[in-house]
Each structure stands twice: as structure tokens, then as C-alpha cells.
Amino acid sequence: MNIIISNSSQEAIYEQIVRQIKNMIIRGELAENEMLPSIRSLARDLQISVITTKKAYEELEKDGYIVTVQGKGSFVAAQNKEILREMRLKIVEEKLAEAVDAGRSIELSLEEMQEMLKILYEEA
């Protein structure tokens, strides 16, 4: 699990953690029921305050991404598969929209874009 904290960013530290863990869950890097590190060991390893990690986990739990069991730890919540797929679809859509904008700005035709998509798809 990779979490990178930037001290100089305008985004509050706990928000950075929340965002990164949410993304990992959406992308499937964190599996359902997988145990997360304890708030204290996370605080120690990231060299931040345990209050911050606690706040991050509380927010993640509030938004339904994780579940905290007293005495046991925090676990990735069983995600609603439909909602997860929808979120993933949304990301694909956003990225395609970006590609369309980029193509339009150099007047690429739909056929040329489809050709590029086919090549990239087959390469991957």
C-alpha cells in the first residue's frame, strides 16, 4: 500500500490520506475485507500525528469505504460492486473526454481517434 504525504500541499494531510485510500479501494488495489494498518502504526510510519490518521479513518468510515471493529482494527468495507463499477466507468469516461478534447484541438477525426484507440487497446 503506497501513501505519499506532501507537507507543502494546500490539501490537509488527513484529506490526502482519505483521497489516496479511496482511490486504492476504487481501483481494486485494496481488496474487500483487507485489514488496514492501525492508526498508530500508520502515524508512526508516515511520521504524522495519530490524531490525523484517526480523522482520516473516521472520514473513510463515514463515507462507507472502511469499517472499524473495536479491538480488532479497520477493514475495507464490502463495496457495492455496482457502485464501484460505476465509479470506475466514470473515471474511464473522464479520461476519454480528455482524449476527445485533446484530439479535437488538433482536428483529429473520429475515425483517426478510433484507429488510435484500437492500436492502444491491442498493445496493452
Binding site: 507537507n7 507543502s8 494546500q10 490537509a12 494531510i13 488527513y14 498508530r40 502504526s41 502515524a43 508512526r44 511520521q47 504524522i48 500525528s49 495519530v50 490524531i51 490525523t52
Partner: protein, 288 residues
């Protein structure tokens, strides 16, 4: 759950200095950094907590117990590390332990031996032969060997090089993995506090300036940099302190919203560090 350390309206008068209604609280399982410039009253506060000085007013509760009425019980459950070495220089590490250990109800020789091994402290060395850093580690070994629930430290890293300071911070973080332990330590090296503290209490001239979570203090303030021309008298109101140079101004504000509104895109607002905050607050007092 009672807070592990509770200081309320603590007062103490000396000839040319006094502590004024000092109040702060530390909950179990957290580290609180106690910062302030030299002479602000950090050591005085800690000595009052340890009952080495007698207070003129106020209340101190440790582990929910009055620090004077239950002095012996409290001291059995806390560990202390001071800036100066108060152990007997002529005795060896082992002899010093033999003197101290019987006074603690929960002393563990196993724990002590583990720590001195980990810290590389030879039991037969005399205390006076130990370097400053090793003396501090010895203090910590003693403080940790009787299951102390609260560790009180007065400038434990003064005069130590960054490597040992970093080792100490690692030790403290390791201790805090147990959520039943707490640490209260004073220092004027704010970068250490930034690395590991959960809460920060800032004292200046015998008065508490603020006491809250470290991240909240930093998020609450903004370091503003901008051109001198934009310093209207209305703008100045929102600053705790301002530094002016021929090339612009820099100031600390607690009111990022208002400042942003007035300056729009004309200035840069950054996250301050604790040292910035401490400097601006102490300068402000000087100006006032």
C-alpha cells in the same frame, strides 16, 4: 476517561517572573509538545507538576489524582527525563539502578536490561563516563522500566546532535504504539515537535498562548507573503505579526479567509511551520 495530565489555572510567582493561570489538558495515548522561548516558563511548569516547586494557586491532576495529595502513587506511575543529569556521577549504571529500582512498585529488571542493551549502555560504566546522549538514554531506560503511564520530559534533547534526537523521537513513537502511554515533553526545538507531537501547547512569558492539536494549529494559521503596497491598515488587523523587507512583506495570520479576500491573487499564502508560528507570536509580545 480522565485525562492523563490536567493543569488548571496554575500560578507561581517569583521575583521577576510569574506563571499566570496556566491551563492545558493531555488525554491518554497522545504526545504533547510544550514549546516556548527560553525563560517562558516551561521548566517551571514541569517542576510544579513534579512538585519540586510549590504552587501559589491552581490545580494539577495526574492520572486523575491530585499531584500533591497522591504524590507517591502518582510518581510510581510516571517516568521523568530532565535536561541535566541528576544521577550520581560516581555510581555505575548498575549501581544507580540498584539504588532506584526498589522505590518503584512495578520495576522490571528484565525491561531495564533490555533497554540498556538496546541503547548500548555498559552496566559497569560510571555515570560520569557516559556522553550526554547516553546519559539521556539512561534516563529513558530508567523511566521506561517501571511501566510508567506518563513520561514527562524537560528539554530532553537540548545539546544533543540531530542523530541522537532522531533516535529519541523514534523511541517515543515506539512507546506511543501502546495507546495506554502518553508523553509530555518540553523543548524549544520545534522541528522535533512537528515530527511527532499530536498536541502542542505554546507558552510565552508565563502565559499559555494556545493549546490544541498540532495539525489544527498549523492549518489554522497562514504564512502570507506579498508586496508592501498591499499592506493597508485594514489588512494589518488580520495579522499576528508582520515582517517588512525592501522586497515585500511576510506575515502570520489566523484568518486566511479574510486575508485571501483582501489580497485576492496578489499574495502567496503558505503553510507555516511551528517555528514560524512561535517566532511571530513572541515578536508580537515584544512589540506590544
Amino acid at each position: 476517561m480522565a485525562p492523563i495530565l490536567e493543569v488548571r489555572n496554575l500560578s507561581k510567582r517569583f521575583k521577576d517572573f510569574s506563571l499566570n493561570k496556566v491551563s492545558f489538558t493531555l488525554e491518554k495515548g497522545y504526545i504533547m509538545g510544550f514549546i516556548g522561548p527560553n525563560g517562558a516558563g516551561k521548566s517551571t511548569t514541569i517542576k510544579l507538576i513534579m512538585n519540586l516547586l510549590s504552587k501559589d494557586g491552581g490545580e494539577i491532576k495526574i492520572l486523575g489524582l491530585d499531584n500533591i495529595k497522591h504524590e507517591k502513587e502518582v510518581k510510581n506511575r510516571i517516568g521523568f527525563v530532565f535536561d541535566e543529569n541528576y544521577f550520581y556521577e560516581e555510581l555505575t549504571v548498575a549501581e544507580m539502578k540498584a539504588v532506584i529500582a526498589p522505590f518503584y512498585k512495578n520495576w522490571s529488571d528484565d525491561a531495564f536490561n533490555r533497554y540498556i542493551k538496546e541503547f548500548s549502555l555498559p552496566p559497569r560504566s560510571k555515570i560520569k563516563e557516559l556522553s550526554k546522549g547516553m546519559k539521556m538514554k539512561f534516563s529513558i531506560a530508567v523511566a521506561l522500566s517501571h511501566d510508567a503511564e506518563l513520561l514527562i520530559m524537560d528539554e530532553p534533547t537540548s545539546g544533543l546532535d540531530p542523530i541522537i534526537r532522531s533516535e529519541l523521537l523514534d523511541i517515543l513513537t515506539y512507546i506511543l504504539q501502546d495507546e495506554n502511554k502518553s508523553v509530555f515533553f518540553s523543548t524549544h526545538i520545534t522541528s522535533d515537535i512537528e515530527k511527532i507531537a499530536d498536541y502542542v501547547t505554546f507558552i510565552n512569558n508565563g502565559t499559555i498562548v494556545f493549546s490544541s492539536s498540532k495539525d489544527e494549529v498549523i492549518d489554522r494559521h497562514g504564512l502570507v507573503k506579498g508586496p508592501r503596497e498591499m499592506l493597508s491598515s485594514e489588512l494589518r488587523k488580520y495579522f499576528i505579526g508582520i515582517k517588512e523587507t525592501p522586497y515585500g512583506f511576510e506575515g502570520l495570520t489566523e484568518n486566511k479567509q479574510q486575508v485571501k479576500r483582501l489580497l485576492k491573487d496578489g499574495a502567496v499564502i503558505e503553510k507555516p511551520n511551528l517555528e514560524d508560528i512561535m517566532l511571530y507570536y513572541t515578536k508580537e509580545v515584544q512589540h506590544a
